[in-house]
């Protein structure tokens, strides 16, 4: 599976992280094409169901990127994101989804290097981890990793 290219979805807040991603482009940085970005106004808007939906649709990894603590455009949305993330991670692990597949990072508008770093790491790790596969078991949809 050396040619496996993981599908990564990134939910980025409009003010810091999306701007950070743009600044990576403006600075001519290069990072893997695997990441597809979905812009939200605030990381606090990221409903855990968005992440679950992404995995159900076939994403191999999901990234949540928001402003640094204390720098949220909406005061405290990133703290809300963090709280939900911690719980969601616990839940996803119970479903059999490896915890590395969901990540949260703080990326400010100027941190294009940090953006490139966390994205590249994610892609590298997911390439190693392999794809997330959906297996239908009876009426339930069981999500499990296919072992090679």
């Amino acid at each position: 599976m050396s040619d496996f290219e993981p599908k990564i979805i990134g939910f980025l807040c409009n003010w810091c992280s999306y701007e950070g991603a743009d600044s990576a482009g403006r600075a001519g940085k290069v990072y893997p094409a695997n990441l597809k970005v979905i812009r939200v106004m605030c990381s606090g808007r990221i409903d855990p169901q968005f992440v679950i939906k992404a995995f159900r649709e076939g994403a191999d990894g999901v990234m949540i990127l928001g402003c640094h603590p204390g720098e949220c455009h909406y005061k405290e949305g990133n703290y809300q994101a963090l709280r939900k993330y911690i719980l969601l991670k616990k839940m996803l692990t119970q479903f059999g989804i490896e915890e590395e597949r969901i990540r949260l990072h703080w990326v400010s508008a100027s941190e294009c290097d940090q953006f490139v770093k966390v994205v590249s790491e994610m892609v590298k790790d997911m390439r190693q981890l392999g794809p997330l596969m959906k297996v239908n078991v009876g009426r339930f949809m069981k999500v499990a990793r296919v072992r090679r």
Partner: protein, 652 residues
């Protein structure tokens, strides 16, 4: 009815064209559902490009538009405007960021083309579920409430009043001018404070557009930006403000003496009084708690003595309701109480003063008529000035007050002027002299004769006690050695702290305080006088320690913000991307109410559901992601729209 989507691909000169195979993209996009036209163009943000979009919207009768090009951060507003001009709601457009997040970051043309395909496909999928949003407008009151008549509040009031805004200036005390009115000379040019202040105080008192409500406090604030309703309690002065000329006949005869808070308790005043000579408005006031008549005893000495019949014991407190569109809070500061830390000996040793007390001692209208005297009436021979009292220490206040170093130098200079033979020691651990004036001031005065600087190891490496009638100051020097210095007077540069009533003010206006107690600005750099409550601004030391020029600048800045946003006759434009509750499905769990950072959500007790105030909502969407019933819709970022986008990016 199926949508008619037009996809316009911007080549952005060579920027996108060279990195992505545009032909392949066009072929791919043509096959997507609902897409009726695909067109690449050299530069969509150019006038020709915009014209092309406008024409194509009409020609193909488009109901949705997808633009593939640069980041929405760059040109979303531009293209929204184009849609609007073409008669299409601007929210029916989605941008696929194939420049910053694709063409510029992927070197391999095949991968870049593949990623661009996916991004456009997702945008096409999302745009179908996008809804037209209308930009709403509401009526607003252009009048402004300013709380606090110190330099910051006055600067805000005058700036607004010059533009003919009606200002309600509310002041807790009987007089205006705040702390600055208590100083004699101020740095950095040793300007006479009252010469600087009196003309603007006078302007405030006589301005047609400023209504001063002295002795008043805010009881309640209802409503929101553009439409606040404020209840003000105006306490009785018991003296008619129109006929009293401040002649002083009343307080000469008053038999009651109480500590004078305007001289920091260093002398006494009467129960009917004028706070200090030159206080404006120059009108007497009766202290209800101490006046014999008002406490039910037999006395009407002041009423008999008044040549103008101005004393009126029957006056009662009044509650006034004001309607304003915006509020400026300039409620000032208080200083750190050195009694909290025994090491300073304050409150126990008679000749240890705080900086505010010393300002009054220096002032010709103060308790000693401007003479520097010890408690025994003798002039001091040696004075110690102590920096950083209660500041730059984790124990009390971690921050630096920023003005103490320079005003202590001012003290040293003024002391030397008044008492040329006195010797002065300054205990400091660091000097803070920022800006274009402070260092010059230091260079000029630090070299004066008789001023000695002793450096402490830490800002609080000092202990002051009394020994044999002298004040003994023990400090640790930079080498860690303990040393003793005697003096007969000590002045403490107490930290600037939040006003004692800051918590009450924050509660009434529903704004936040930082850990240090000062009101929190919306953004430390970009919105320093705004708060997260729309329409409420902060200025001066209520926001943090600062000097006079800083306070004035903030007052004027707050006024500028209001003048630019709240315009008479114009309606307020509301953020269209707000959240909205489906009231029929809301279970009334109230989870969203506690999560909203802007306090925009309230609970309707009668109808048993949450309501979002569109004026206060900023559209962050925190509530929408937390609603357990999923009945809060974050407009333009709805679950449906984001799901569509997820499906689009995953199913390549």
């Amino acid at each position: 009815m199926s949508e008619r989507i037009g996809v316009l691909i911007c080549e952005c000169g060579p920027n996108i064209k060279d990195a992505i195979d545009i032909n392949k993209i066009v072929n791919f996009v043509e096959s997507l559902e609902n897409v009726v036209m695909v067109k690449p163009f050299g530069l969509l943000c150019s006038d020709k490009g915009k014209e092309l979009i406008r024409k194509d919207i009409k020609k193909y009768n488009l109901t949705r538009v997808v633009i593939a090009g640069c980041s929405p951060k760059e040109h979303e507003t531009t293209f929204k405007k184009v849609l609007e001009d073409a008669g299409l709601n601007p929210f029916l457009m989605q941008i696929a960021n194939i420049r910053e997040q694709c063409a510029w970051v992927i070197k391999d043309k095949t991968s870049a083309t593949q990623k661009a395909k996916v991004m456009i496909a997702a945008a096409v999928k999302r745009v179908v579920s996008q809804e037209p949003l209308r930009i709403k407008e509401i009526k607003c009151h252009p009048d402004v409430l300013v709380v606090g008549a110190g330099v910051a509040g006055i600067s805000a009031s005058l700036t607004l009043a010059h533009k003919k805004r009606k200002i309600y200036l509310v002041e807790r005390l009987p007089c205006i001018g705040g702390k600055v009115a208590l100083y004699e000379e101020v740095f950095s040019n040793l300007e006479c404070a009252s010469c600087m202040l009196d003309p603007i105080l006078d302007e405030v008192l006589h301005h047609d557009h400023i209504e001063l409500l002295s002795l008043s406090e805010i009881q309640e604030v209802l409503g929101f930006y553009g439409n606040f309703i404020v209840r003000v309690k105006k306490k009785a002065r018991f003296v008619d403000i129109k006929s009293c000329i401040g002649c002083g006949a009343c307080f000469e005869v008053c038999p009651v003496k109480v500590k004078n808070e305007y001289n920091e308790g260093l002398d006494e005043r009467k129960a009917i009084y004028i706070p200090y000579p030159g206080a404006l408005p120059n009108v007497a006031v009766i202290d209800k708690e101490h006046c014999l008549h008002l406490q039910g005893k037999v006395c009407n000495a002041c009423q008999k003595a008044c040549p103008f019949g101005s004393v009126n014991y029957e006056e009662t407190d009044q509650v006034q309701e004001l309607k304003v569109g915006a509020i400026v809070l300039a409620t000032g500061f208080d200083i750190f109480d050195p009694r909290k830390s025994k090491q300073y000996g304050y409150g126990k040793i008679g000749n240890v003063y705080t900086s505010l007390e010393f300002e009054r001692l220096l002032n010709s209208t103060g308790p000693t008529g401007g003479k520097i005297l010890l408690k025994n009436g003798q002039p001091p021979k040696k004075i110690a000035l102590v920096h950083c009292v209660g500041s730059r220490t984790r124990k009390y206040n971690e921050y630096c007050s920023g003005i103490c170093c320079i005003y202590l130098l001012k003290f040293a200079h003024l002391i030397r002027q008044k008492l040329p033979d006195v010797s002065i020691v300054e205990f400091y651990s660091d000097f803070c002299l920022p800006g274009k004036e402070a260092q010059k001031f230091f260079n000029k005065f630090a070299e004066e004769k008789g001023i000695k600087f002793l450096r402490m190891k830490n800002p609080d490496s000092i202990n002051i006690r009394e020994e044999k009638g002298k004040i003994l100051t023990r400090y640790t020097d930079v080498n860690g050695k303990s040393k003793n210095i005697t003096s007969d007077m000590v002045v403490l540069a107490s930290a600037i702290e939040e006003a004692r009533n800051a918590q009450d003010v924050a509660k009434v206006f529903d704004i936040s305080q930082g850990r240090d107690g000062f009101f929190i600005e919306e953004h430390t750099k970009l919105a320093p006088v705004s708060t997260t409550t729309k329409g409420i601004f902060i200025a001066g030391c209520a926001q943090g320690p600062k000097d006079i020029q800083g306070s004035v600048a903030q007052g004027q800045a707050a006024a500028g913000m209001i003048l630019s946003q709240l315009i008479p006759g114009e309606k307020l434009t509301l953020e269209p991307m707000t959240a909205v509750v489906n009231e029929d499905l809301c279970s009334g769990c109230k989870i969203c109410i506690g999560l909203c950072p802007y306090k925009a959500i309230t609970y309707d007790d009668k109808e048993k559901h949450a309501i979002i105030n569109e004026v206060l909502c900023t559209g962050c969407g925190i509530c929408a992601s937390a609603c357990p019933s999923g009945v809060i819709k974050a407009k333009h970022f709805t679950d449906k729209q984001i799901y569509a986008e997820i499906e689009g990016v995953v199913n390549e």
